[in-house]
Symmetry: C2
Subunit: 402 residues, 2 copies
């Protein structure tokens, strides 16, 4: 079996953790599997490098930042290789360009275009464990690029796809995907399986287990993922096209995202296309918008509200204010003290009454719902940020604890 394993920064933060991970890798290899391992930079390395850069230039080019950051993963693979060598195992480490991970030229947020598999295949044929630096690639100019947040997960899935791996294991500091955040909801259950679509909804809703990009890539290439802990030896959660629980389980999990803000554009003139023009102004600033609602005003105007990532809120307001006269509205207001609570489940579409159970749970707790959005696999509610944990617990009780 060919397995791709990915370990994040906290899993390789120091010599002790590196030895622990080496044990997991060794076990798979000695079991007879072909093993390709993707590693992130150690612990806080990336942040330390960013601090160093900021001391020298608060706004460095993204090209040079990628040149700097790419060293973190390179150090991780070299140190892990040394650890496995010390255990007497055959191993070789490879950086992004050595593997041939070709990306576009968007430094800092590059997307993988193509992965060469020749060198990987050659090293595997030599019966070596292959360690690959995550998060990095090269563009057509032979310059270093990095893949942005969650980039190492993406590297792992891309390698699994290129090598037609049997599975791709993402080792993290949690034991799998849960019905809710187990630190907040003690009764939360670990899911044995989950579909790509459910995982995508959970990920985009703030469940910090896997980044959307890597799940999308896994879905596109049919790479079976497993999310599991590098510290606790236990089966994790499998992410695949069809979950065997799909029919019996109506909802899969509950996620909370507090890093959102509501933007309200007040008294937009009620003319054809005015909502489009407002949203277009935000989109042109490169900001994703979610959960749009339009409320009829008393006069010939409407209020348009939508949700953006909290980090984009000020930029969204600025983009709108710059075009205030052209768009024709009174003012823009921001509310950053909100949270989005989402209930996700592929079984939802075939079930009735899911939404009403969610509303009932929130009503029982006297939590006011400000905005609602539903799709075939998700119901999201915007509520006051201070009520978020209580809302997740209440919904969890309603669906999983009765």
């Amino acid at each position: 079996m060919l397995i791709v394993q990915k370990f994040g920064g906290s899993s390789v933060a120091n010599a002790e953790r590196i030895r622990n991970v080496a044990g997991i890798i060794a076990e798979s290899f000695l079991y007879g599997h072909e093993v390709v391992v993707v590693l992130s930079a150690q612990g806080d390395t990336t942040d330390e490098l960013l601090d160093k850069a900021a001391e020298i230039n608060p706004a460095p080019s993204k090209r040079e930042l990628d040149m700097l950051l790419a060293t973190g993963e390179q150090q991780s693979i070299a140190l892990m290789a040394m650890c496995l060598e010390g255990m007497g195992l055959p191993v070789v480490s490879l950086t992004g360009w050595q593997v041939g991970i070709h990306t576009d030229a968007n430094y800092g947020t590059a997307r993988i275009r193509r992965v060469d598999s020749e060198r990987l295949r050659r090293e595997l044929d030599k019966k070596r464990i292959v360690l690959v630096a995550g998060f990095q690639g090269v563009n057509k100019f032979d310059d270093y690029t990095t893949l942005g947040r969650g980039g190492s997960d993406t590297t792992a899935v891309a390698l699994a796809a290129a090598l037609h791996a049997d599975k791709c294991q993402i080792f993290t500091d949690v034991e799998g995907v849960y019905t809710a955040d187990p630190r907040k909801v003690p009764a939360a259950r670990k899911l044995e399986e989950i579909t790509y679509d459910e995982m995508l909804e959970l990920a985009s809703m703030g469940a910090q287990v896997l980044m959307n990009r890597s799940v999308q890539l896994a879905k596109r290439y049919g790479v079976e993922l497993e999310v599991l802990s590098s510290l606790v030896r236990a089966p994790g959660t499998k992410v695949k096209e069809v979950s065997k629980n799909m029919e019996e389980m109506k909802i899969t999990g509950i996620a909370k995202d507090e890093k959102v803000a509501r933007v309200t554009v007040a008294q937009v003139a009620d003319r054809p296309g005015s909502a489009f023009r407002v949203l277009n102004a935000v989109a042109k600033a490169g900001i994703n918008v979610d959960m749009i609602i339009q409320a009829n005003g008393r006069d010939e105007t409407n209020d348009i509200s939508f949700v953006v990532a909290e980090s984009d809120a000020d930029a969204a307001a600025k983009a709108l204010q710059e075009r205030q006269s052209a768009l024709g509205f009174d003012h823009v207001s921001l509310d950053k003290d909100i949270a989005k609570v989402s209930v996700v489940g592929a079984g939802m579409m075939s079930s009735v009454g899911i939404a009403s159970l969610v509303f009932e749970a929130l009503n029982d707790e006297h939590i006011n719902i400000q905005m609602i959005n539903t799709s075939e696999v998700k119901i999201s509610c915007v509520i006051d940020a201070t009520s978020a944990d209580r809302a997740v617990a209440a919904i969890h009780r309603k669906f999983f604890e009765t």
Copy 2:
């Protein structure tokens, strides 16, 4: 004019030093020169990485060690690029493989085979300052290699040769090449010019200014070197084929090397070829030997003494002892408390009485000479280590202060 500038680790140890060096680079660039800059890893980075490695595996493979160490220089060039960007200057950083610095496969001590100049030329044609990671290259397997001690100097000279640079400036923490170590001999004079051969002798004799490899490379390709300070803006010492001072100055400088040891092989049977066999046994262990003397014993045996680097002394003794019966000697003894003091000067060969002045200086100080070696450009004396500084001062007085 095309200038290659090299800055060592202490010159880029922190943000302040980086800014200082950026000023030097900017000055050359704004003066209208094409500038290629070679950087070492910051301050203690290499040692810190070695410590990290040792914690995980006391004897890692050299391949993985090179993978690890190569990150240090990559960080330096990225940070320097950011600093120059902050000054509004056009700049690009390149690692060893990006430039195309091709080496042999001797990890840790690789030798440069070929330097591609296309990418460098292309970047220079775009009117950019080009920063290159020193100390590193790639072998034919596309694996990272490092060049060993003084590797960044070698990188700088190799780039200067490949680009037919007009000069190659090696910035260090000293102001140039002196007639003796100025920290020990206050009257030491900075030399304006020195020949490659003189520099080679001084370097191999322990003057820690330039490594021999880079001087040899500069001599072979006729690259004019200048050694100068990154902290004090003053002309340094030029190293070239013919020094204008050659005729008038009999000797160039005095160097001391305390990292040597004397190996004595006692009572070697006086048979044809026995000295050869003794020295061959040491050479086969990969150890360089210097200043061989053979003393006739009372019986049918000789004592053979020679000088090796202190770090090689134990290995030399071991290599001999393993072949004791075949070589036919009584025992091996080591003396690590010695120093080699050398007087270097291309003008020496045309002058008489240099040697006698050296002996006179040492005699005046009652310093016993244990071994002597002379060549056309050098006289070396092995003396007691505790007398070394006094010997250098005495010789300096004799030649430079009267």
